[in-house]
């Protein structure tokens, strides 16, 4: 069955989930081990949004593992999308917005790859992406919506969206196809060894992504005991049986932020912007060589970011608890 099927059949969805061992079991492993759970050509959804809770360490590990040909989906795509294209990790990104961030202007790396037709950026409205994941999470093959109608955003999607009428009211709606990724990469503040995850603050589309995907690779700032999870079960946001790997990666979203833990590393983001705005090809290559292929390990990469920088980002990240 082609990985590029727009909507997985219910039979496929059910068979894929049924094939997994969903019993309560420990899944702690390294970034490198977790990377082996992703196959070339997989559809991989990324949690977080823009500069926030991006599963950066896991993306970093997948690039280092020389994975190729992934399709990536994400609510809003920032520098991690550039790295996906520039490294060859993926050739197609499904997103509502793609650039480093407003303050840095339009991504030259995105422009280079898309305008030269080296890669695809499939644009959907932000809510449409969210509802595609939500339909996937709910086990239904489509979700009706009242936006995208009448715009070119819908027009260029062709058969990927279907105009329809409500069977009760006759109102005009747009049917969005469910999105069930093969793998979801999600970074959280804490999880237990089984994969029960707690998420502080902004959740974006992560819960729906976790439920929609066939399996979740969880990176976490820290692993806590199952007892801690059970003390406040109403704080669990992702249930263990969706998860195939739990990797403890402190500062796992750097240079992006992790809510309540650290703010973005603006210095590194500025450096990246400077490198790629001069020359998107050479600049991205230099960045990949220096910061992705170069370091011996994730802590080694963090050392390059710098202790003082990380401590400052952490201090700023915790500032919300002063309110």
């Amino acid at each position: 069955m082609s990985k590029e099927t727009l909507v997985k059949s219910y039979d496929t969805l059910r068979r894929d989930v049924a094939a997994r061992d969903r019993g309560l079991r420990e899944k702690v492993m390294t970034l490198e081990e977790a990377a082996t759970l992703v196959s070339d050509g997989d559809h991989v959804a990324l949690g977080g949004c823009t500069l926030s809770r991006t599963p950066m360490a896991m993306i970093w590990a997948l690039i280092r593992a020389r994975k190729q040909g992934l399709t990536i989906s994400r609510s809003i795509t920032s520098t991690e999308g550039d790295l996906v294209f520039a490294s060859g990790l993926g050739r197609k990104i499904i997103s509502s917005w793609f650039s480093q961030g407003i303050v840095w202007g339009i991504s030259k790396v995105m422009r280079h790859h898309v305008e030269k037709e080296l890669a695809e950026f499939d644009e959907w409205s932000h809510m449409a992406i969210g509802l595609r994941f939500r339909a996937g999470a709910m086990g239904i093959p489509f979700m009706p919506v009242r936006s995208m109608i009448g715009s070119d955003v819908a027009r260029i999607r062709g058969d990927e969206v279907k105009p329809m009428n409500c069977p009760f009211t006759g109102e005009r709606l747009m049917a969005l196809p469910a999105l069930n990724p093969d793998v979801a990469l999600i970074h959280v503040q804490r999880a237990d060894a089984y994969g029960n995850a707690q998420l502080d603050g902004l959740q974006f589309m992560d819960i729906d992504i976790a439920m929609a995907a066939n399996k979740v690779i969880l990176t976490t700032e820290r692993i806590v005991s199952n007892d801690q999870i059970r003390r406040a079960p109403d704080h669990t946001r992702i249930p263990f049986f969706t998860v195939e790997a739990v990797v403890e990666v402190p500062y796992g979203s750097v240079p992006h932020e992790c809510y309540g833990q650290y703010e973005p590393i603006f210095a590194q983001l500025d450096r990246y912007a400077a490198l790629t705005s001069k020359d998107p090809v050479a600049g991205a290559k230099q960045y990949l060589d220096e910061y992705v292929y170069g370091p011996k390990s994730w802590p080694d990469y963090l050392s390059m970011v710098g202790m003082e920088t990380l401590l400052t980002a952490s201090r700023r990240g915790r500032v919300i608890f002063n309110d």
């Binding site: 949004c49 823009t50 500069l51 809003i76 509502s96 809510m127 009242r146 715009s151 729906d208």
Partner: protein
Amino acid sequence: MTEQTSASIAYTASELIAIMAGRLLVDGQIVFAGVGIPLLAATLAQRNHAPRLTILFEGGVIGPFIVPGELPPSTNEQRCTRRANMVLPSTDVLLLLQRGYIDVGFMGGAQIDRFGNLNSSFIGPADKPTIRLPGTGGGNDISSLTYMIVAMKHEKRRFVEHVDFITSPGWIDGGASRAERGLPMGGMWRVVTDLAVMGFDEETREMEVLALHPGVSFEQVQDNTGFPLRRVPEITTTALPRSEELALIRELDPGRLYTA
């Protein structure tokens, strides 16, 4: 347009847009705002004449307060959540638009046309663009489901006869075409630039100048617009930015991240 003076006070085009846009907001409204000028405008309104204004961010935030000097880089970082009333999944905050809770959306765009359609996706044809822009984000959802204020610089290359691509629908082809296309709610309400405040004719839905900023002539606005503008008979002139308004904008954005 570079610096203008308000009596003895200088201000930038961005500051002017933020102030003029902020004045359009009404107390008690629920506003879906992007970062940058929309956020500055909404915060300004909240501190001045609209204390019960509620700001929403696409990242999933209801009713936050922004800390001066700590503007968020997008609507999706923790700086957006400071002292918020509620933080929720981003899909759910967008669904509030569909449910009908939002009075007005507030955003910018790369191009706008005579009927208020906005483009933030492609310059040139979509299948072979000259420039691939970042895309809709929540823009398409917001403009499909509620009333809109657009804040942007007034340049001929931005105010075009036809946008290359309708990312965020305005009045489509004018008249009743928006509703006929399947969008019965909302629509483009105001466009605020560094030259003027514009609305749309109730019937034809063509862009019309409602008010000129101090020292700006209608001809100057027309010269910077790529299509013929209508003007309402009772065209007015906006009041000069007040020093308190400018002071507040500068307190919020001391590094001039969004108001340079």
